[in-house]
C-alpha cells in the first residue's frame, strides 16, 4: 500500500497554477526524488505534502488517513531545509530537544534520544555549541539530527546539499543514502541536480512547470525516457538532439542519442562530421563535433580521443540506443 498518496492534488497562487492536479503514490521505505529545473514546482509540491502550504484542490493521504487539512505539525513528517533553519539562539542539544519538548516527551527520554541520534550522526562533540559556531556541513548534520530524533513517518528534504561545496556535497549525499538504509524510512528528496537524483533515488519524479513528466527508476528514465524533456534532463553530457532530415530518415520528428552511444568510425558511418572541441577529462573525453546533416553532436568516449581538432570523422549511433520522438516530443516506441 502506498504510504503517501497524492490524489488530484493541485496548487494555485493567485491566478497562476503552479501545480496542475496530479496523482502520485510513494511506497513505505522508498527514497523518492523530485527533480526538475528551478521554478518547476518541486518545493511547492513538497510543502503541500508537509502541510506548509494548503492544497488548492485534491487530497493527500498518509498511511490511508486523509491529512489534507491536518496542520503540518500533526502529519508525522520531518523536514530538512536548504538553509538548515536551525534555531540560532539554541545549542545543538536544545535544537534537537525542541521537537520532542513540543511532543510532550519526558526529559530523560529526550536526553536519551538526543544522545543516540548524536552518536549516529557523529555530532556528539558539538552538542553544546550554537549553530553559528558550526561549519555548513556540521549544521546540515544537526538539521538532519533534529529531523531524526522525532522518528517521523517520512523525511522531507528540500535541496539540503545546495549550500555545501562540491566535496562536502558528495560525501553528505552518501551519508544520507546510508541513513536511508539504516533507518529504512520513507524519504522524499527535492533537487534540481539530476546527478543527485540518479545516484540517490529508488524512484525519480521528473517535474516541469508543475507537471509530472515521468516517474520511474533512474535506469528506466535513462533507458526509456517518456519524452524529450526527460531525455534531455537526465544524463550528462546532455543527450544529442537531432531534427530535420536526419530524424525524418528514421521516421521521427526528433531523434536523441546519448553521447556515450555514438561511436567514432573512420570516414564511413551514418553521419559525417568535423571535430570542433575536445574536452579531455583523463578517464573519458567529450568530443564536440559538427555534423553536416545532424548538426552539433557530442561524443563521449573512455580514455583519450584518437582524433584531433579539424579531423573529418564518421559517426555511428549504437544499435538500439537511438531514441525517437514525435513532433510533440513524445517518445515513439
Amino acid at each position: 500500500m502506498a504510504q503517501i498518496k497524492l490524489d488530484g492534488t493541485s496548487k494555485v497562487f493567485g491566478d497562476i497554477t503552479v501545480i496542475p492536479p496530479l496523482d502520485l503514490e510513494i511506497g513505505k521505505g522508498e527514497f523518492v526524488v523530485f527533480v526538475g529545473p528551478s521554478g518547476s514546482g518541486k518545493s511547492t509540491l513538497l510543502r503541500l505534502i508537509a502541510g506548509l502550504e494548503q492544497v488548492s484542490g485534491g487530497r493527500i493521504y498518509i498511511e490511508g488517513r486523509d491529512i489534507t487539512t491536518t496542520p503540518c505539525g500533526d502529519r508525522g513528517l520531518a523536514m530538512v531545509f536548504q538553509s538548515y533553519a536551525l534555531y540560532p539562539h539554541m545549542t545543538v542539544r536544545q535544537n534537537m530537544a525542541f521537537p520532542l519538548e513540543m511532543a510532550g516527551e519526558a526529559k530523560a527520554s529526550i536526553n536519551r534520544s538526543i544522545e543516540e541520534t548524536a552518536h549516529v550522526l557523529d555530532i556528539t562533540r558539538f552538542l553544546d555549541r550554537r549553530p553559528a559556531q558550526l561549519s555548513g556541513g556540521q549544521r546540515q548534520r544537526v538539521a538532519i539530527g533534529r529531523a531524526i530524533v522525532r522518528n517521523p513517518t517520512a523525511f522531507l528534504f528540500d535541496e539540503p546539499l545546495s549550500n555545501l561545496d562540491a566535496a562536502l556535497r558528495s560525501s553528505t549525499r552518501l551519508e544520507i543514502m546510508k541513513l536511508h538504509q539504516q533507518l529504512g524510512a520513507t524519504m522524499i528528496y527535492v533537487t534540481h541536480d539530476q546527478v543527485e537524483a540518479m545516484t540517490m533515488a529508488d524512484r525519480i519524479v521528473v517535474l516541469n512547470h508543475g507537471k509530472i513528466e515521468q516517474v520511474g527508476t533512474p535506469q528506466e528514465l535513462y533507458e526509456r525516457p517518456a519524452n524529450l524533456f526527460v531525455a534531455e534532463f537526465i544524463g550528462a553530457p546532455r543527450m544529442n538532439r537531432i531534427e530535420g532530415e536526419a530524424a525524418a530518415a528514421l521516421g521521427a520528428g526528433t531523434i536523441g542519442v546519448r553521447p556515450e552511444h555514438i561511436r567514432i568510425v573512420q570516414e564511413s558511418g551514418l553521419w559525417q562530421a568535423t571535430v570542433e572541441v575536445i574536452e579531455n577529462l583523463g578517464a573519458e573525453s567529450h568530443v564536440h563535433t559538427r555534423s553536416d546533416v545532424a548538426g552539433p553532436l557530442v561524443v563521449r568516449m573512455s580514455g583519450s580521443p584518437g582524433v584531433k581538432i579539424g579531423d573529418r570523422i564518421g559517426l555511428s549511433p549504437a544499435d538500439g540506443f537511438v531514441h525517437r520522438f514525435d513532433r510533440h516530443g513524445m517518445a515513439l516506441r
Binding site: A50, P71, C72, M79, S83, A85, L86, P88, F98, M102
Partner: protein
C-alpha cells in the same frame, strides 16, 4: 593634526551641550552666587540646592514625581512592546498591513500629539483615568507604538521564514514560536525598543501636563513646579538641581542603549 581634531571635537561637544553644562553648573551655585556670578566657574560649590529638593518634600515631592514617571514610563514602554511584538510578527509573516497600515502607523509620529489631547482629556474624564499613573502609562503606550512597531517589524524581517516553518513542523503554535523562537532571537531589538520607549515616555511633557494634576504628576511636569518654589522670583539653583536629577534616569538608559545597539548588529550577522 591630532590635537586639532580633538580641539574641534571639544569645542563642538561643549557648544552642543552648553545648556546641559550651564544647568549642571547652576545647580551647584547658591542663590546669591547665581545673582552675582553668571560665569561658568563656581566660586563656592554647594549641595544646598540638592539637599533642599531631596529633603523638603512638604510642598513638592520629587520622590513622588520620580515614582510616577517610572511607573508610567514602564507601562508605556512595556505595554507598547507587548502589543507590537505579536502585531509585527503577523505583519511580517502574513504580509497583511505591510503595504498600507504600516506607513500610516509610522507616520502617526508626524502628527502633533496635541491634536489628540482634547478628545483624550474628555475620554479620560469619562472613564476616570484622569490623574492616574495607569492613564498616563496608556497614553505613553500610544506615543511609543509607532516606533516600537517599526523596530519589531525590522527585527523580525531579519529572521528567515524557514526557521518559523521548521518550528511549525516541530508542532510549535504561533504563540510558542513567538515566545521561544522569535522573542529570544530578536532580544537585542526588544531591549533597545524598551529602553528607547522608556526614555521617550520619561521625557514626555504635554500629556503629563494635561492629564495629571496631583496624584500622577510625572517628573517633567513636577520639575516645572520648582521654578517658583517660594512664590517670588524663579529659583534657578533649585530648578537646575531638579532638572539634573530628573535627567539622570534617561541619561543612564541612553548609555545602556548604546551597548545594546552594537549588540543587535552582531546578532544579525550570525543568523541561520
Amino acid at each position: 593634526m591630532n590635537i586639532l581634531r580633538w580641539l574641534v571635537f571639544g569645542i563642538a561637544a561643549i557648544a552642543m551641550n552648553f545648556p546641559v553644562i550651564v544647568t549642571l553648573i547652576t545647580s551647584f551655585k547658591s542663590a546669591k552666587e547665581i545673582a552675582m556670578n553668571p560665569g561658568l566657574i563656581v566660586q563656592a560649590p554647594t549641595f544646598a540646592n540638592y539637599a533642599r529638593v531631596l529633603t523638603d518634600t512638604s510642598r513638592f515631592n520629587i520622590y513622588a514625581y520620580l515614582f510616577n514617571s517610572t511607573v508610567a514610563a514602564f507601562i508605556g514602554s512595556f505595554l507598547a512592546l507587548l502589543l507590537t511584538l505579536p502585531a509585527a510578527y503577523a505583519i511580517v509573516r502574513t504580509g497583511v498591513g505591510k503595504k498600507h497600515l504600516l506607513p500610516v502607523v509610522a507616520n502617526l509620529r508626524a502628527v502633533p500629539l496635541v491634536v489628540f489631547a482634547i478628545p483624550l482629556y474628555m475620554m479620560f474624564q469619562f472613564v476616570g483615568l484622569l490623574d492616574t499613573r495607569i492613564g498616563l502609562g496608556l497614553i505613553l503606550t500610544i506615543v511609543n507604538l509607532p516606533l516600537s512597531l517599526m523596530m519589531m517589524v525590522n527585527a523580525i524581517s531579519d529572521i528567515p521564514g524557514e526557521i518559523d516553518e521548521a518550528a511549525r513542523m516541530d508542532r510549535a503554535s504561533a504563540f510558542v514560536i513567538l515566545r521561544r523562537i522569535v522573542g529570544p532571537v530578536i532580544r537585542p531589538a526588544i531591549v533597545t525598543a524598551f529602553i528607547f520607549g522608556f526614555i521617550t515616555a520619561w521625557n514626555e511633557y504635554l500629556f503629563g501636563l494635561m492629564l495629571t494634576t496631583r496624584q500622577a504628576v510625572p517628573i517633567t511636569v513636577g520639575s516645572s513646579f520648582f521654578f517658583s518654589a517660594s512664590g517670588g522670583g524663579v529659583q534657578w539653583g533649585i530648578a537646575s538641581a531638579v532638572m539634573v536629577l530628573g535627567a539622570m534616569p534617561p541619561a543612564i538608559l541612553g548609555c545602556l542603549i548604546y551597548r545594546q545597539l552594537t549588540g543587535s548588529m552582531t546578532a544579525g550577522a550570525v543568523k541561520g
